[in-house]
Symmetry: C2
Subunit: 215 residues, 2 copies
Amino acid sequence: MYRPKEDDPIDDIPDIAIQRLPLYLRALMQMQDHHQRITSSQELAQHLHISSAQIRKDLSYFGEFGKQGTGYEIPYLIDQLKDILNINATWGMALVGAGDLGRALVRYNGFRPRGFYVAAIFDSDHGKIGTHVGDLVIRDVSEITRAVSEMGLRIGVVAVPPAAAQAVAEALVKGGVIALLNYAPIMLNMPESVRVHYIDPVAGLQSMTYYLPHA
Amino acid sequence: MYRPKEDDPIDDIPDIAIQRLPLYLRALMQMQDHHQRITSSQELAQHLHISSAQIRKDLSYFGEFGKQGTGYEIPYLIDQLKDILNINATWGMALVGAGDLGRALVRYNGFRPRGFYVAAIFDSDHGKIGTHVGDLVIRDVSEITRAVSEMGLRIGVVAVPPAAAQAVAEALVKGGVIALLNYAPIMLNMPESVRVHYIDPVAGLQSMTYYLPHA
């Protein structure tokens, strides 16, 4: 199992390098699906549009994974990256919001092969509470803190309207959640100890229209 | 309307600054929704967890929007940012994939107030083609290139399984699309002239689990 070295504290590794590791893992898993066993930083670079020097540098923070001239053994590098990214076990997530997005997330089959699944879903709509999405029964948002605590969940997914997002995030954190995936288009005000990853497709679109021909 | 100055080429503005502008706009629009008329870089900083110096620097690439001591007039700064981000007109998008995610995107009411709407939806499933999602009729993927070209759409959204994503993206680009929002968890191989923004929630999750206690 990967452990940060004493003399090379984990905090020295830039966040941006950590953010690229899942892309390397994703590419490697796709290569493995195609029964490929060896790759190189050059091949990964071509797939990912990231320079091979950058890829070698990012990986070098964690050890020596390839041999000069022979490249990386894919199954080994996948195992190592799973260790580093802490996804050898599968993480259950508490999802709040059983609207279109929440329901799509429950049914999304891309989570489990990559280390995640929705373990519980909550909504405030009494018409929805008690009904099923996939195998899950929708529970009342008032149960979030207790359920998250009882189930020992550390990851929360916020898929509610902006006005409800802060309260929902607080209830999740009170139950023990320390990492949040937030789909609501607002910034959450959270303690430093809680990690938040934001998904805002419109912000992504707007950062592209900037470059498109102006009318 | 915002135009880049001749002696200050648009390319000199770092991408990362452009990526923050939508966050400023989003925060300003939320303040406006709460009938607030004036803000400051300090207040924006607090909302967004971005330093006020960074915010002032990002905005300064485009002009002088605030007055020392009196702050920013919110409606004016919103107008300017909409000009800069090129979203004064609303952009129609061609969406491919009418699964759970695609349907959630069609019905998502967060697009239009921020400058976007789904103008056409395509799928390869003959059980879905011809049926409705919201006001839209699902069309055959074989029509993508022609429809996108006829409708003059410049933005495409890829919400199909990974194995289909590259072909779908190529059909969109052949029809005239120059900006892609890609939800498929693979990298697209596109000409330099096409912008791609990736949305991969699992990559986001994995970049957080790295920091969580290892089992």
